[in-house]
């Protein structure tokens, strides 16, 4: 049995220890905001934070996160990263980023992680942090604008 925390709540996970965190979240815990896109850490749709670091949950077995703190799109606004998360989400809405929206949980989680580390990301920084998150609708241009806008609003705050 693996024990870890999801959005601040302790989870005792009884199913197969090789279960990827993604499917533990979706199937066992009912948190469907984290998405399945590739199963091979190629697309970023499943991005969550583990101990504040962005992680591809589709290739992270629950056995590897014993005792660790997992934060998903549903919980990120209520953590210590909340101010950044709320700024990112507000910028996403303001810049009308989403289209189908399926990849956006992962985009937001990656963007929050970027802005936690880098208050003024350049275009190259954004490329480096976000190129692991595929969007088939091609929202990249507005994702870039929204990250810059969120960074600016966080500086003002």
């Amino acid at each position: 049995m693996a024990k870890f925390f999801v959005n601040g709540v302790q989870v005792d996970f009884n199913a197969a220890p090789d279960t990827p965190l993604l499917w533990a979240l979706r199937d066992q815990l009912g948190l469907t905001g984290t998405k399945f896109g590739c199963g091979m850490a190629l697309c970023g749709a499943c991005t969550v934070h583990v101990d504040q670091q962005p992680v591809r949950s589709c290739v992270t077995p629950v056995s590897a996160i014993e005792g660790k703190r997992v934060v998903t799109i549903e919980g990120i606004s209520e953590t210590s990263q909340g101010p950044t998360a709320r700024a990112v989400k507000a910028a996403w809405i303001d810049k009308d980023v989403v289209q189908c929206g399926y990849c956006q949980s992962g985009q937001v989680m990656s963007a929050v992680a970027l802005l936690q580390k880098n208050k003024s990301p350049s275009d190259a920084d954004i490329d480096a942090a976000m190129s692991g998150n595929i969007c088939r609708c091609g929202t990249y241009q507005r994702v870039r604008e929204a990250i810059k806008s969120a960074a600016a609003s966080l500086k003002k705050a």
Partner: protein, 717 residues
């Protein structure tokens, strides 16, 4: 327009069923000038249903009949209705319509999201609904105040009467719901529009950034099982021997069932089902496609193209080519392409006592409902199909043979528990229903002055419609129009043009892919025209203008793109521009791509797009759709390729079926042609021009012509 009001009794029934005030429901029979499915059987009955619900709290819910899969219909369609309703936009919500006869496409006669038609086919319909509802609300207020409707006006969710008296729509909803639906309503003068044409943010953003939006994959039901299917490794292969012994030891697996096409492993959750499938041992009889190879197909297609096929367009003078002073011959090849939407395909089916319920992100709810019913041995009306948000689709969720819906029904029928069939990414990439592979052979005849005197064009490829329920309606004289669109209807003035088609069937399931035939024909036409401009030593824009004399609307878009891109102005060293223009889905898009090479790697820095899509309902969405269509087209143009070796698909996931990423996205600038009277297509017309625009820029940079796609695997440096 023929708007039939439903009977008062049924109107009240539907009002009661949906609870909370006014419900407008009406039915538009299929038909009309643009009716591509004119012979489609009309749905058997008119069921009371609704496009609009006004709650006693003043909330406005617009029922959206089209699938939302990124294109923004959950905002643009409510905008159209609410323009006439005169409600408070801040109170507007959406709901996706289930399968239902009242939700059929006003031109195509079936429920369909495709052909870049959601806005234009809903435009009159939803304006009428909004105007009818407004008239009923005004009448309800007039009744209460004993005033004349003409003395009242509707504004921002209130009816305002003499002396400034006000009643909110919420207060009026119940009384209005009991009034007859007016047959005739006066629509607003477009000059008075306050919502249509305004940049309007999407109303589905919040749920999507919070992770709360429910896609098909997110469906949760009591006792819901997950199925993963082992599908044939070669198209047409069948199970010869199945050994499921090792699956029994996988915890959480509940069923292993053989299907018509493959074997389903069902489990308590995805991971159990997936591990169960990995443990299956299946011996396949590979069948007739065991040796399928892309290299062989390419050679066969090219050889076939050397003889004329069935005539799609005949030259006025069949002998004109013989009189040409010079001919230019070009042979093209484009590959099979997967749609690869972000949300892998899935479908949830629950067989109930007196029917079944399905949850799926479907582009063709009615077709899928009927196919599901057939598999389940039910009548279509016994199958409730709930439309879920879809994480992209690009045509893959509009399959005339409903492959993944029927398969999910087969599993549910056999295991007798609620089941969600989930495709992995590998299943998606290898699962077929690709944009077809095609070959084109184009011979142009020029006179001594370099003027075009003949154009002979032969296309070879599989038919999307053949073998589907759409074949009888759409394929005439053996010609599938989706194979030749964008060539035979070119706006260029090309004397003595002949277009012929060979329809071949290599055994690979094919389907429409964003922009359908235009996804390959624009590449061929616009690189060939560019080649002819170069042969004539003329500027590519000027050369096109001269051939577009009969189409000033196309020239206007071409000129707009060229001027906004600074066509002809100096560029940084190592950069070059290319242009392309293409008309599709009633709209015209021209694009200028600015490219450079980093070693052999193609960098697309900027795409300047000019777009004429008639009347613009939501400029923010149109801009987003252009960015989207360009990113999608670039993925295909640069990287997209499904290939076969020994019958098997060689690609499997995003590492070997590459798609555009953040660092590869060009800056896209969009310029809309103002002043249209009616909306035309938006979702697809931005895709076709990008491949030829980039290819033409690469020619300007290197002097090398692209004769095939994708571009990134070719040698440029």
């Amino acid at each position: 327009m023929n708007v039939k009001s439903i009977s008062r009794r049924r109107f009240l029934e539907s009002s009661a069923a949906l609870a909370g005030g006014l419900v407008i429901s009406f039915w538009l029979p299929g038909g009309g000038g643009r009716n591509a499915f004119a012979q489609a059987p009309q749905p058997p009955k008119i069921s009371p249903n609704a496009f609009l619900r006004i709650g006693k709290d003043g909330s406005i819910t617009v029922v959206v009949k089209h699938l939302e899969f990124g294109q923004g219909v959950t905002t643009s369609l409510p905008m159209i209705l609410c323009e006439e309703l005169e409600c408070d936009w801040a109170k507007v919500r959406y709901e996706l319509a289930p399968a239902g006869a009242e939700y059929v496409h006003t031109a195509f006669g079936i429920q369909l999201t495709g052909g870049s038609s959601s806005v234009w086919n809903s435009y009159d319909q939803l304006r009428t609904v909004g105007a009818q509802a407004r008239a009923m609300l005004v009448q309800a207020a007039a009744n209460q105040w004993k005033a004349k409707p003409a003395d009242l006006r509707a504004e921002k969710g209130f009816v305002i009467g003499p002396g400034g008296k006000r009643l909110s729509y919420g207060q009026l909803a119940e009384a209005a719901g009991k009034l007859p639906v007016p047959d005739k309503v006066v629509l607003k003068d477009p000059k008075a529009f306050t919502i249509i044409g305004q940049p309007t943010r999407r109303i589905d953003s919040l749920e999507k950034v919070e992770g709360n939006a429910k896609f098909g994959l997110d469906v949760q039901r009591k006792n819901l099982h997950t199925a993963v299917v082992a599908r044939p490794p070669v198209f047409g292969a069948v199970v010869k021997k199945l050994d499921a012994e090792k699956v029994k030891s996988v915890p959480g697996v509940t069923h292993v069932v053989e299907l018509r096409d493959g074997v389903a492993v069902v489990g308590r959750n995805f991971w159990a089902a997936k591990k169960g499938r990995d443990a299956l041992e299946i011996e396949w009889d590979l069948g007739p496609n065991a040796k399928l190879s892309t290299a062989d197909l390419k050679a066969q297609f090219a050889e076939t193209a050397k003889t004329p096929g069935k005539a799609a367009k005949k030259a006025d003078d069949a002998e004109a080519m013989k009189g040409a002073a010079k001919t230019i011959l070009a042979e093209y090849s484009v590959p099979f392409l997967a749609h690869a939407p972000m949300e892998p395909l899935n479908c949830t089916v629950e067989v109930q006592a007196d029917g079944a319920e399905i949850w799926v992100g479907s582009q063709m709810q009615g077709v899928d409902q009927a196919a599901a019913a057939k598999m389940l041995g039910l009548k279509p009306e016994q199958v409730k199909l709930n439309t879920m948000l879809a994480g992209g689709g690009f045509g893959r969720r509009a399959n005339p043979v409903s492959d993944y819906v029927v398969e999910a029904c087969e599993v549910a029928k056999k295991v007798k528990v609620p089941v969600k069939v989930v495709w992995t990414r590998e299943d998606d990439i290898r699962g077929g229903y690709y944009r077809p592979m095609y070959a084109h052979r184009v011979e142009t005849g020029l006179d001594a002055q370099g003027k075009i005197v003949a154009w002979s064009h032969t296309i070879v490829g599989p038919s999307i419609m053949a073998g589907t329920p759409f074949e009888a309606m759409m394929v005439k004289d053996g010609l599938d129009p989706t194979s030749t669109e964008g060539v035979s209807d070119t706006p260029y003035d090309l004397p003595n043009m002949s277009v012929t088609l060979h329809t071949v069937n290599p055994g690979v399931p094919v389907l429409w892919w964003r922009s359908v035939g235009n996804s390959h024909t624009a590449f061929v036409m616009e690189t060939m025209i560019d080649e002819l401009a170069a042969a004539a030593n003329q500027d590519p824009v000027a050369y096109r203008r001269a051939l577009l004399g009969k189409h000033p609307n196309v020239t206007r878009v071409l000129d707009l793109a060229a001027s906004k891109a600074g066509w002809g102005s100096p560029l940084a060293k190592g950069r070059a521009r290319g242009i392309a223009v293409h008309e599709s889905f009633g709209s015209i898009c021209a694009q200028v791509a600015e490219v450079s090479l980093d070693g052999n790697e193609i960098r697309v820095h900027k795409v300047t797009a000019a777009f004429d899509c008639g009347l613009v309902v939501n400029p923010l969405t149109v801009e987003a759709q252009l960015q989207s269509a360009i990113a999608f087209g670039l993925s295909g143009a640069l990287f997209g390729e499904i290939t076969f070796k020994e019958g098997r698909v060689e690609q499997s996931n995003f590492h070997d079926y590459r798609v555009l990423r953040m660092n590869e996205m060009p800056r896209v600038e969009v310029f809309l042609v103002p002043g249209g009277e009616r909306p035309t297509g938006v979702g697809e017309p931005g895709t076709p021009p990008v491949a030829p625009a980039v290819a033409n820029a690469l020619f300007a940079l290197t002097g090398k012509r692209a004769r095939s796609l994708p571009l990134a695997t070719q040698k440029w440096a």
